[in-house]
Amino acid sequence: MNEHRIEQLLRRVRTRAIPQEQLRGYTAQVRQRLGAQPSTVISVRPALPWWVRWLAPVGVVTVLVLALALRPTPLERRPLLLAEHPLVEEMELLSQVAPEEALLLEEDEELLEEDLLLEELETLEDMEPEQIG
């Protein structure tokens, strides 16, 4: 059996006519349903001008594109900026210094800090009490 036979069968049968009792009051029911709708169904709002309808999606897309383009770049995605950070530069410099020199540098720094404190104390000692306040 092929599709043609099925087609033949389908053509030979038809949906039975809907019984009249099922259709009784049908239009009145539709009218009732229509009555529940706002009375201004037909007088629909005039359509927006074409350029407004065109601009709306274009505007939304533009805002999205701008928002994506201008969003803050995550730190890991800007290595150049990170490389310019003073701490990174300092670490790079330190990495190039031999460990012994690095220790010396640290000691120098400590000595420098001590010197500065001593200097400050000496200055304070030379000052009159009124000047300190």
């Binding site: 053509r11 038809r14 099922q22 049908y26 239009t27 009218r31 709708q37 169904v41």
Partner: protein, 196 residues
């Protein structure tokens, strides 16, 4: 100008009476299509009436170049497919006549009669074929069911079915071919007996 055009124009101008005249003209066809797709007379009545209401609301967007009938059929098919989707969500995808269903309800469901004067043999086998056809058509996808209902059970041309379903005639033919293949698998044997 088509016979419906004047009524459509009046309805678009706000005449509910003119629209009700259109409802009167198409109510039987609307019910028939909905019944073919849904298989239940109460659901078919509700869906077809809802389709008429939706068509009334959308009447301002209807173009005079189109035919009111096919435009309305499209709205009916869409409404029925919404009902089928709701039914699917509710877990009742396949409508199956149950023993508990009344005889009247079973008769409502796509009752088929031969379109020409039947022989006694045809009458005897009609009930069996009806039952098989009901079952088989309702195993089709909603789209294929719509195509089969409009093309064979309602007798629309391929072009009219395409217009009603907003697709190309080629798509309708492809859907019909797939549906027929599916039905053949369901019908093997029985059709031979019926058509012999």
């Amino acid at each position: 100008m088509s016979p419906d055009a004047a009524l459509v124009t009046q309805a678009q101008a706000g005449s509910q009476a003119a629209y009700c005249e259109l409802v009167e003209r198409y109510k039987a066809k609307a019910m028939s299509i909905a019944l073919g797709l849904l298989g239940n007379i109460e659901e078919a009545k509700d869906a077809s009436q809802e389709a008429f209401v939706k068509a009334y609301r959308a009447l301002a967007r209807f173009h005079a170049q189109a035919r009111f009938s096919t435009w309305l059929y499209r709205i009916i098919v869409n409404e029925c497919q919404s009902v089928l989707r709701a039914r699917q969500r509710a877990g009742r995808w396949l409508w199956r006549p149950t023993a508990a269903a009344s005889q009247d309800e079973a008769d409502d469901f796509l009752e088929l009669i031969p379109s020409e004067a039947p022989s006694s043999r045809e009458i005897a086998s009609t009930a069996e074929v009806q039952h098989e056809l009901q079952r088989a058509i309702h195993t089709l996808s909603p789209r294929q069911r719509a195509v089969v209902t409009l093309r064979y059970l309602e007798g629309l041309s391929v072009e009219d079915v395409a217009e009603a379903l907003a697709c190309a005639p080629g798509t309708v033919k492809a859907q019909l071919a797939r549906a027929l293949r599916h039905l053949r698998a369901q019908f093997d044997g029985l059709v031979e007996e019926y058509l012999s």
